[in-house]
């Protein structure tokens, strides 16, 4: 009987040791996942003037505190060279995600859709290496005084190869949405 107990105790101990040795100490890991917290639109007036910056900012990423969003205010009958910038501000210093979009330009495309009556026309979007718009830079032309909206959408072409083509619309089933922000606009 005693011998049996010894055997059992041994078995228990050995397997216990085996099990605990599998378990390594867990390290507190930082939240390393990339999020886009901020989209900035930088407006450089053609022919000189102060650079304007408007942004959508969700400092803690999706959920949590609500995002803040600027109204885009531009002068009438003017042209602006606009550059879009995407940031991850949960990291210090902030990570510039625009560089990643530019590096994979053939799989990304910004679309700019002003509402009718907003008196904004977006043109001259820059192209990727295949000559298809990527839209990190472009030209915004304003008309007479007006209020309206503009929707800025970044679409990701997930196919391999991405198959991005000039004719692809913003709602193409080839691509999915990375960013979709609608700004109020005012020309005054």
């Amino acid at each position: 009987m005693k011998k049996q107990f010894l055997k059992v105790a041994m078995g228990v101990l050995i397997s216990g040791a085996l099990i605990t040795s599998c378990k390594k100490d867990t390290v507190e890991e930082p939240n390393e996942e990339e999020v886009i917290t901020t989209m900035k639109l930088n407006f450089v007036p053609v022919g000189g003037g102060t650079t304007l910056t408007y942004q959508f900012r969700d400092a803690d990423g999706p959920g949590g505190a609500a995002p803040t969003q600027d109204e885009i205010v531009l002068a009438p009958s003017k042209s602006y060279n606009v550059t879009v910038q995407l940031l991850n501000e949960t990291e210090t210093p902030a990570e510039d995600i625009t560089l990643e979009v530019a590096a994979e330009a053939d799989a990304h495309r910004f679309y700019y859709e002003p509402t009718a009556g907003s008196n904004i026309v977006v043109s001259g979007l820059n192209n990727d290496a295949n000559g298809v718009p990527v839209g990190i830079t472009g030209t915004w032309a304003t008309g007479a005084i007006a209020t309206g909206k503009i929707k800025v959408t970044l679409r990701h072409f997930g196919g391999t190869p991405p198959g991005k083509a000039i004719g692809d619309l913003v709602n193409s089933s080839k691509s999915s949405t990375d960013i979709e922000v609608e700004f109020n606009t005012k020309i005054q």
Binding site: V8, I19, K174, S176, E180
Partner: protein, 771 residues
């Protein structure tokens, strides 16, 4: 058609090569294990042939004129537990059978004695031929052959079982005696188990659930391997399969041995490799739907008369692609996908084994030690197990240089289970036990559930009484669970919540057998389940459904009262039998996801509908019926129908994502055993899945943007034959799923928003048993 021809030719060739008449004898001797008394009038029967012989005054029986092949020998005697033995017959064979009166003898042959008290309540088993037909499929696909069990899918590669409408954390999966602890909470998290380990897949409800937890509101799945070898010598088995649709191939091999010089020592090694390319629907092939699986296990056992110990280690690793046309950025994308009749061509047409983002990479390791010993007539079991589950999900990312997973969860679990069985006395037998669990979950990458430590302790006691026509069973269980959670924030802050839940369960089961042919069963079970961390603390975008999911820390445990009644009838001449189960599972504080239509969450990717975890009172009621008609001995006609109504009582509405009612009819033609070919059959199944019309109304917040798909009918086929090739049993099978290449979508597959289901899939299986 070509395939069938090839097989016929193969059979003919085999015919010529090895014409062996059916001349083998299977003889046996039956005696009482304790008294060594020869047992007269024990019944020996062979399941496959249906032959029955009563032992003579010397306790002997002989089956003559048997063909080579695999047989299941069943020995019953009035005062003993039933003994079941698998025999591979390649020559005349003699077997000595020791019938157990008491629980003193351990042995793999004594199935009931090994598992303790037989479960007389709800128990559905998949084994033998039905299990063979599922070789190469996932665990959930195999289980869905059981009436009342369906599956929740994400494409063709990820599937998890649903029992009577309930899944994930409401079901316990017991892998070789150990409660599986992975990331079961997610709809796209399939069980991390190699089905080739199993000799039997069993679904149980009622009293025996209490041995595994108080939280099995939906039921318990037992993945049961075969016992270690019980006869000196070795055996090996090779299973291989090929599936035409996605060019999937499977190879699984097993080797086991009991040493001649040291018969107490026994071991088994087993491994499986599986790889599939992109799957095709009838009209198009879906990119990135391949999968790969590499598993192995080692079992080592030491068995003496009153002491038995076993160490089991298994490793499971899988990599599964997720259709890349299903990537959803926001609600607009989902609505666009729903509006499109088929996915865009850029996501179609590649026939490759290559897996790209998005994909899942999951591994599960289990190390277990189980020791059983006797003190007097009392049986004690100590089960220690360690598990490590690592789940990495790789989403589509902007930068191809990003090699990191977006979701990375590691969960370590250690369990200690102790049980005690008292000897059978005055028609009473019983088992009691204590269970402890320590668990550590950590994450990196995207937050979805927090890091946590959980500690559980619990105890149970089950007693069984049986006499004459009655069997009564009752049991109790209590569990206490503490969870300490930590959420890491990017600015090095943490958010901590601590929880403690007590859960109680009990069950009572009564069986009445008025005659040999009838069995009436009634059960009432109380179970309660503590909310899981994802229900308490999830916080993030669920990309598959384009919703923002938010947990609720104020959730309380769910309480269920499940009442069921079953009737089973078997005609004495076996020409007709039926099995009916009626159930009603009433769950108070049922945790579900409630849309909050007035509070969308605005993110940089647009506005997401908010869905929070809420509690309601729910009732899931339904019935399963199956019949078997054998008009002539060669033909079987089996029918199964399952029906479910799932209501949210508080909102007076339906519950979402519940399986549609379904009917299956299967006709099997069993060919007579010839001189060299045995166990030959051809079967055709027609499966009708109705449309799910009982869905939540939009009045309580829109939960789904696409109406459930239309009803569909599938025709499936199976054919199999076993032959002896140089005295080695070789089984060749052909299966066809979706024979007519029907275009359909299933309500419980999240890919129904994007694409059709898999088209015709022909499978070829080859099984070789060596010894």
């Amino acid at each position: 058609m070509k395939l069938i021809l090839i097989i016929i030719i193969a059979i003919l060739i085999a015919n010529g090569a090895i014409a062996q008449p059916c001349v083998y004898k299977l003889s046996g001797h039956v005696e009482d294990v304790d008294t060594k008394e020869k047992l007269v009038a024990a019944t020996a029967s062979i399941k496959e042939t249906g032959k029955q012989i009563i032992t003579n005054e010397k306790g002997d029986f002989v089956f003559a004129a048997l063909c080579a092949g695999e047989y299941t020998l069943i020995i019953t005697h009035v005062s003993c537990d039933t003994v079941v033995k698998k025999i591979i017959l390649t020559k005349d064979y003699h077997i000595d059978i020791l019938m157990p009166h008491t629980r003193k003898v351990l042995g793999d042959v004594i199935v009931d004695a090994q598992k303790g008290i037989a479960n007389t309540g709800y128990k559905k088993e998949l084994s033998g031929r039905a299990l063979e037909e599922t070789k190469g499929l996932s665990l959930a696909e195999a289980l869905s052959k059981i009436n009342g069990v369906t599956m929740l899918q994400t494409g063709s590669t990820i599937a998890k079982p649903i029992i009577h409408g309930l899944h994930s954390n409401r079901i316990l999966t017991i892998n070789n005696g150990v409660r599986q602890e992975g990331q079961q909470w997610g709809n796209e998290h399939a069980p991390e188990i190699d089905p080739f380990i199993a000799d039997k897949l069993i679904v149980i409800k009622g009293v025996d659930e209490l041995r595994y937890g108080s939280d099995a509101i939906g039921g318990v799945i037992l993945v049961e391997p075969k016992g270690l070898r019980n006869k000196p010598g070795y055996a090996a088995e090779i299973n291989s399969a090929y599936f035409t649709n996605n060019r999937q191939y499977v190879l699984s091999a097993m080797f086991e041995q009991q040493l001649k010089k040291q018969p107490a020592f026994r071991y088994r090694v087993q491994g499986t490799f599986k790889k599939g390319a992109n799957a095709a629907t009838p009209n198009y092939r879906l990119n990135n739907t391949g999968s790969e699986e590499k598993n192995f296990s080692i079992t080592v056992g030491w068995k003496k008369e009153r002491f038995n110990t076993e160490i089991f280690y298994s490793h499971f690793a899988t990599k599964v692609g997720i259709f890349n046309g299903s990537h959803i950025g926001n609600l607009t994308d989902l609505l666009n996908a729903i509006a499109a009749p088929k996915p865009n061509d850029v996501f179609l047409g590649q026939n490759t084994y290559k897996i790209q983002r998005p994909y899942q990479d999951v591994s599960h390791d289990l190390l277990k030690s189980k020791t059983t010993f006797y003190m007097g007539e009392h049986k004690f079991t100590v089960l220690l197990a360690g598990q490590f589950n690592h789940r990495k999900e790789f989403d589509i990312v902007r930068s191809s240089t990003n090699k990191n997973p977006q979701l990375d969860l590691s969960i370590y679990t250690i369990t200690e289970d102790f049980s005690w069985e008292h000897p059978k006395k005055n028609n009473f037998s019983g088992i009691g036990g204590l269970s402890l669990m320590q668990q550590d979950n950590s994450y990196s990458g995207r937050y979805f559930i927090p890091k946590y430590f959980a500690y559980t302790f619990g105890g149970y006691y089950i007693e069984k009484w049986s006499k004459h026509k009655w069997e009564l069973q009752a049991g109790l269980r209590y569990d206490n669970k503490s969870i300490n959670t930590t959420r890491l924030k990017f600015n090095a802050d943490t958010i901590n919540y601590d929880f403690n839940f007590s859960t109680f369960a009990s069950s009572f089961n009564a069986v009445y057998k008025p005659t040999e042919n009838w069995k009436l069963n009634t059960n009432i079970s109380l179970a309660s389940r503590a909310p899981y961390v994802n229900e308490l603390l999830s916080d993030g975008i669920h990309h598959g459904t384009a919703t923002y999911e938010k947990g609720d820390i104020s959730l309380k445990p769910e309480h269920s009262i499940n009442i069921s009644a079953g009737i089973n009838y078997q005609h004495p001449s076996k020409v007709f039998g039926f099995d009916l189960l009626l159930y009603s599972n009433s769950i108070n504080n049922f945790i579900y996801q409630q849309p909050m239509p007035n509070n969308p969450v605005l993110t940089i990717a647009g506005a997401f509908p908010l869905i929070t975890y809420k509690q309601t009172d729910a009732i899931l009621s339904g019935f399963d019926i199956s019949t078997l008609i054998k008009p002539v001995p060669a033909f079987d006609w089996g029918s199964k129908f399952s029906f479910l109504h799932a209501r949210n009582k508080t909102l007076n509405d339906w519950l979402i994502l519940m399986p549609a009612n379904r009917l299956s009819n299967e006709i099997t033609y069993n060919l007579k055993d010839s001189k060299i070919i045995t166990n030959t059959y051809v079967s055709v199944e027609m499966l009708n899945v109705m449309q799910q019309k009982n869905i939540p109304s939009d009045a309580n917040g829109k939960q789904d943007y696409k109406a459930p798909p239309a009803a569909y009918t599938l025709i499936n086929m199976n054919a199999s034959a076993t032959m002896a090739v140089y005295k080695t049993p070789v089984t060749i099978s052909v299966g066809v799923r979706n024979l007519l290449n029907t275009v359909y979508r299933d309500y419980l597959n999240s890919m129904r928003y994007f694409s059709d289901e898999m088209g015709r899939n022909i499978s070829l299986r080859l099984k070789i048993q060596l010894q």
